[in-house]
Every structure is written in C-alpha cells, then in structure tokens.
C-alpha cells in the first residue's frame, strides 16, 4: 500500500514505522455530536492506517510526486506554513503542517482516502474505550499545551483494539468531511458562525462531549489550505465488495 520510494536518509527510520493499514470491523457509532436527527450511525468495515502518516512516509510521497513539494504545491492548495517542518523533523514523527488538499492527495496516491468524521470517531471510541472523565481529562490536557505533544514518534503510545495507535494525544487529524454541517428538514447549514451555540449539538453536556465538540468545531473552522504544527492525518481504505 505504502509508497516504497523512501528517501535513502529516511529509509532506516521509516522501516521502524509500522503504518500498514489494519482491518476495522463494522459497527455502530454512538454520536457525541449531533448534526442531524440520528444519534447513531452505522459504520461499514474498512481499513485504516495503524498510525498517523509519518514524515518519512510523506517525504517518500513528495519524492514520487514533486508537485506536492513545499514550494512546488500551488498556493491554492496550501498555506504558507506547508511542510515547514518536514526537512528537520525526525522521520518517524507524524507529518504536520499538511493541508487537507495535500493529505487527500497523499491518500489517493496510496489507493485510499481520508477517513470520514464518523469513521474516525468510531475508531477513536471503539479502539480506546476510555471512561468519559478519563477521556476528557486526557484531551483537555492535550489542548493545554498541544504543541508539546506532536514531538514524538508514532506508534509509541498504547495500542488499542484492531492494532490502532495514537488516535488521541499525538496530533489532531484531518478527516474527509472536516467541516460541520447541520442537517435539518429546512436544509443543511454550516456550523460555526456564532458563540453560545453548543448545547443543541451535544448528546450530553459533560466534559467528554464538550471536548469532542471542540475537536469537531476547531477542525471545522480550518480551511482546506490550513496547515498547523499539530495537525496530521492517516488514510482509510475501502474494502472491495
């Protein structure tokens, strides 16, 4: 699946990174953030990268597709910070400073795509099964100083169900449908215009739901050109039927 044209300097470190996709069983996601009438969503089986995409992975992609290089990528597809850390960050750290467009292109080159918001939430929830308060405390601790967390290798943290690593606590991740859209009988509308507008989207008002909403909401306010030091991604793959 992965592009094997690794840069020689990165090849050794890259070989230590097991970012091969793993099989995710289908199931039901109990939604914490309610964007329509349903409170659950059914998830079909798919495959997902076991870890976020690394610098080595992305460098290999750029080597094979130079038009996605730091300076070569058209500015409509990325902001000024694009890939600013790639040259200096360790090979087995998660790629950051990557736009939604570039992440999508990377996944397409692997024969995959970005996971949907629901797929990502499903894996995050089912693979960790954290108690709500533990989950909330961990994520608020992450947001307390997010930049310090992206500075380690992928795959080091506790491995969850299906062999999935690093859903929380390393980097935030792009998803395919990253902008929140509220669906109602009167039509769809983008969320994010005003403040004090949270409770009607939350299944419950506890910290676990609030911090989940923060993840949806903050990602939703990015543009597809946005890059940050804490935002990476992993790819999903459909299973042929």
């Amino acid at each position: 699946m992965r592009n094997l044209l690794c840069l020689p300097a990165l090849a050794l470190a890259a070989s230590a990174v097991q970012a091969e996709p793993v099989a995710i069983d289908g199931g039901t996601l109990q939604l914490r953030v309610l964007l329509g009438d349903s409170t659950t969503v059914s998830i079909a089986p798919f495959r997902l990268d076991a870890t976020p995409v690394t610098n080595a992975d992305f460098a290999a992609f750029v080597a094979a597709s130079p038009r996605w290089g730091r300076d070569a990528a058209p500015s409509v597809f990325r902001d000024a910070g694009y890939l600013q850390a790639l040259a200096t960050a360790p090979a087995d750290y998660p790629i950051t400073h990557v736009s939604w467009f570039a992440a999508s292109a990377y996944c397409a080159a692997q024969g995959g795509r970005l996971p949907t918001q629901d797929e990502w939430e499903y894996v995050a929830h089912e693979s960790t099964h954290l108690e709500p308060d533990t989950y909330a405390a961990m994520l608020f601790a992450y947001y307390a100083d997010p930049a310090s967390h992206a500075r380690r290798a992928v795959g080091a943290a506790h491995v969850g169900r299906w062999g999935v690593h690093d859903m929380h606590g390393l980097v935030l991740e792009w998803v395919e449908d990253f902008q929140m859209v509220a669906k109602s009988s009167t039509g769809d509308s983008a969320i994010g215009a005003s403040c004090g507008d949270t409770a009607r989207y939350l299944a419950d008002n506890d910290p676990a739901h609030y911090v989940t909403f923060l993840r949806y909401q903050s990602r939703s306010n990015y543009t597809p050109r946005t890059t940050t030091s804490t935002l990476g991604f992993r790819c999903a793959y459909d299973i042929a039927t």
Binding site: D79, A80, G81, G111, R113, A136, A137, F140, A141, Y143, A144, D145, P146, A147, S148, E176, D177, F178, Q179, M180, V181, D188, S189, A190, I191, G192, A193, S194, C195, G196, D197, T198, N205, D206, P207, Y210, V211, F213, L214, Q217, S218, N221, Y222, T223, P224, T226, T227, T228, S229, T230, L231, D238
Partner: protein
Amino acid sequence: MKSKKLNPALLLVAIASLTAGAASAQEYTVDGKVFGLPEARVYTEDYQGPPAVGEYLSALPNLKALNYTGNRTHQVRLDTFAQEVEIAPGKRYVAWTFGGSAPGPTLHVREGDRIIFTMKNRSDEEVAITPPLQNAFQKATPSRAPMPHSMDFHSGTVAASDKWRTIAPGQTIQFEWVANYPGVYMYHCGTPSVLMHTAMGQYGAVVVSPKDGYATDGDVDHSYVMVQSEFYLAANPNGGVMRYDHAAAMARTPSVVAFNGHVSAVHNEPLKANAGDRVRLYVLNAGPSGTSSFHVIGAIFDRIWYEGNPFNEMRGMQTVLLGASNGAVMEFIVPEEGSYKIVDHEFADAERGASGTLKAGPRK
C-alpha cells in the same frame, strides 16, 4: 475505491464566504449612529511585527488619554496567540490571548470614532511580547496552541456573522466598527466552545468615552482600568502547566478569580492616589460566567455611570453589581491617607483572588 465527488461541506462553506457580507453594502445613519460598515476581509499576510499596535492601547491598569479633539479613525491591531502565563503564585497555564496577556490590552476611543481593526491568528507561532503592552505580573513566555479564533467587540454594532467570524491559524481578518455608544465594554473571542475560549483568556476592555465627557471630567485626579475574570484550571496529571477544567467551568467554581490577570497584580503595584483625590475606575467584569459585587473598602462611590453611559448616572453606592460582561465607571473620593482594599464583595470570589489595593498618600 470511492468515486470522486465534490465535498458538499466545502462547497457550502465556499458559498457562505461569498455571501457573508452581502448585507453591508452601504453605510447609513440612524439617530446619528453609523451602521452598514464594509464587509470584513479575511486574507493571509506575511506579518511578523508587534502583535498589539495602536496609539490608544494600554496595559492594565492604565488608560491612554485621548489627546485629540473631535473624532478620528484608529488603526488597531490585536493579534491572537498563545502565551504561558502566571495568574497566581505557582499557577501557570498556556493562555489563549489577544495581544499576549489575559486580559488583553485596553483600547480607548471616543464616541463617534471609527476603528479599523486587524487581527492575525498567530496561535501556531511563538510570538514574543514586549513592554509597554505587557502584563508584567503574568511573566509570559511564548507558546503555541493552534486553534481557530475570532474577535467580538461589544462596543461595535455590526453583523456578527460577518465581522466576528472565526479565522483559522495563519489567517488575518480586518473589519471596521464605529463607537456609536459610550461605555466600558468587553471584547472577547466568540468562537463556539465559547466558554473555553473566554476561560482560556481571550478578553479585554474597550473604553468609549462620551463625546461630551462625564460631568466630573475636570475633577478627576486618577483614572484606572480594572478587569475582573475567572480562571478554571486543574493540575495536569502529566506534570507541566495547568489545564482548562471544563467541569469546574460548567459548575462555576473557579480556581482563581483575579483583577487584571493575576491575584497579586493590584496588590504588588497598588493603584495610587492622595487623600482628598477623586479616583475614577473603569471596571469590566469579563466573567466568563460569574458576577462581581465591586466594592472599595472604606469608600463610597459618589458617581456611577452604569455601563459607562453618562445617562445611566447613579449616586451613593457601596457596591456595584456587574454581570458577566457588564462594565461601569465608578468614582469615589479618597477619605484619608492609608491603604484601601478593592474587592469583589462576593467573598468566595475575593478569597479566590478578586482583590486589590489602593494606596493613598497624604492630602496635598
């Protein structure tokens, strides 16, 4: 493989951004107030300069005097970015700030002035702040916390869906507002999850002085600005700085309540006056969720302009109750030489840090 298709969400947002400002095509006046300001502009810029720029911006507790007559147009920049700050001894956290402190700098303008405001979301940059627009008590060090943010000036009368819109890290927004109404106002981030954004430190004060002034303008010896706010923080189990405590924020049980961003700010550097002086305080309760029962121990406010509007004059108040985002101008005569404690008379909040000192010298 999935077939290629347009992402409907992206399409929708693209359309929304094209039409967001359609309502504000033409400026007009009603009752002497100016409305219908130009559409906000969101763009990217290669700006690395000072994060707070404006002739009439000042660090708490100071207020820049308006050394011009009539009205003028102000160019004001207040970038938003993260700083690790101290709000009480041993209590540090990575604040989300406007201009590098929590509360941010105070802007002073006159009723009728126009403000051209610029803000870059620099939350993914380490921005160094420098005096004079620095809160010395917070001992800030640059940090990063990439996050979308917005700016909501309570002193402005505009379509929030346009001017107060959220921008991503790396983006800049520019918009105009006119100071139509005099008062002591809050500014804050209005991005959803707004309780967290404000509790993390994104607020400050705007003082819009009335065009004809207050009746006592000629008698005031000292003017100060005080902003009260709550901090909801918990120890981080992994060590390091403290983190936002959402359960406490929802229960309204702050870990710290402070004047001017630090429990010691108005003690270690007390407000100064002399016996017999008339002292004016511009007070804002930024919340985000609590009230302030503002009181000076040993003094009585003889003039209060609630919300800072000269029509809202009250007299002879021991305590002024301010809800979240209420402000007031309060004046008192300093009775004699000595030390005067300034408190939120809701003592649970005073004990959490909402207190300060005015130190009075002998009568001159």
